[in-house]
């Protein structure tokens, strides 16, 4: 059986599909968050050898940091698809991802600062991983600013897509400054993201929270892309028909 994927690249068919998917992702977010936090708070030791109870910040810090990079990558993929296939929906998806990505980046920085204050005694340090994560935040904000600064939506899409693609160089920089290939050359501030040494219950809770964050991102991005579709396709007949029926 072959599925015609391009069928869903039309905003008119994607809009109702997205609407059907949102509640599923919302429920999955709720279930996974409850499960992950229950496991993270009640099935894990309170005190690890060096790190005390604040280590539970990783249940949101790691998922947020991970999402901040992945969402940027996905945003760039949609932007590229937009430039190559010239499909409107691709640009709309890219635009819908940016605010969620920016929020994930901010959460990663914020929770990282709280972690840093307890374990290293400083809220902020101009260390490569923090600086590059901050640059990622500026990239998201810059992408959104550029998009809203250009009146013609098609030009805005193309210009901001280019900015996003150029900014992609930032993602591997963050990744390798966190997962330093040669530890002797990096400050030992941040733990590598290896899973080997982690206590298994902590690892389980963290991975469940990663999935929870993903489901949240899917839900909120699909909700936002529906708004963008309505806004941009407002002259289409199907939107006018929908306005009469839908609440």
């Amino acid at each position: 059986m072959s599925i015609n994927w391009f069928k869903y690249s039309s905003p008119a068919t994607f809009y109702p599909l997205a609407g059907k998917l949102v509640p599923w992702f919302a429920w999955l977010t709720a279930i996974l968050t409850l499960a992950g936090l229950y496991w993270g708070f009640f099935q894990t030791p309170d005190v690890l050898s060096e790190q005390k109870e604040y280590y539970r910040i990783i249940f949101i810090h790691v998922p947020a940091a991970w999402m901040s990079m992945w969402l940027y990558f996905v945003l760039v993929c949609w932007a590229l698809a937009g430039l190559v296939f010239n499909t409107r929906l691709s640009y709309m998806m890219a635009a819908a991802i940016a605010p969620t990505g920016a929020i994930a980046t901010f959460i990663a920085l914020w929770t990282g600062a709280f972690w840093g204050k307890t374990s290293w005694g400083t809220w902020w340090d101009w260390d490569p991983r923090m600086t590059s994560e901050l640059i990622l935040l500026f990239l998201y904000v810059g992408y959104m600013a550029l998009q809203s600064a250009i009146d013609d939506p098609r030009r805005a899409d193309r210009a901001s897509a280019l900015l996003a693609i150029v900014g992609l160089v930032c993602v591997p920089v963050i990744f390798w400054s966190v997962n330093c290939p040669d530890p002797t050359q990096c400050a030992a501030l941040h733990q590598r993201s290896g899973t080997g040494k982690m206590e298994s219950n902590i690892l389980i809770a963290m991975l469940v929270m990663v999935f929870a964050f993903w489901m949240y991102a899917f839900a909120v991005i699909l909700m936002r892309v529906r708004n963008i579709i309505l806004e941009r396709e407002r002259h289409a007949t199907w939107v006018n028909e929908l306005l009469e029926t839908e609440k």
């Binding site: 109870e53 914020w110 708004n227």
Partner: protein
């Protein structure tokens, strides 16, 4: 473990709940903002539609 012990988190409550609190605030805020945006768009588009219909009637 009592409730107050839980929130005290061995003296790290400020850092732990400062992190979780901000995350909850931003995510809940994002969902509310997107829902509000939808209401605003629908309202504006419906008004535009009524205005257009009125023009056609004249």
């Amino acid at each position: 473990m009592t409730v107050s012990e839980f929130f005290h988190a061995g003296g790290y409550g400020f850092y732990l709940w400062g992190s979780f609190g901000m995350t909850l605030l931003l995510m809940a805020g994002e969902v509310i903002a997107v829902k509000n945006q939808r209401r605003t768009i629908l309202k504006r588009l419906r008004r535009m539609m009524r205005l257009n219909a009125a023009e056609v009637d004249e």
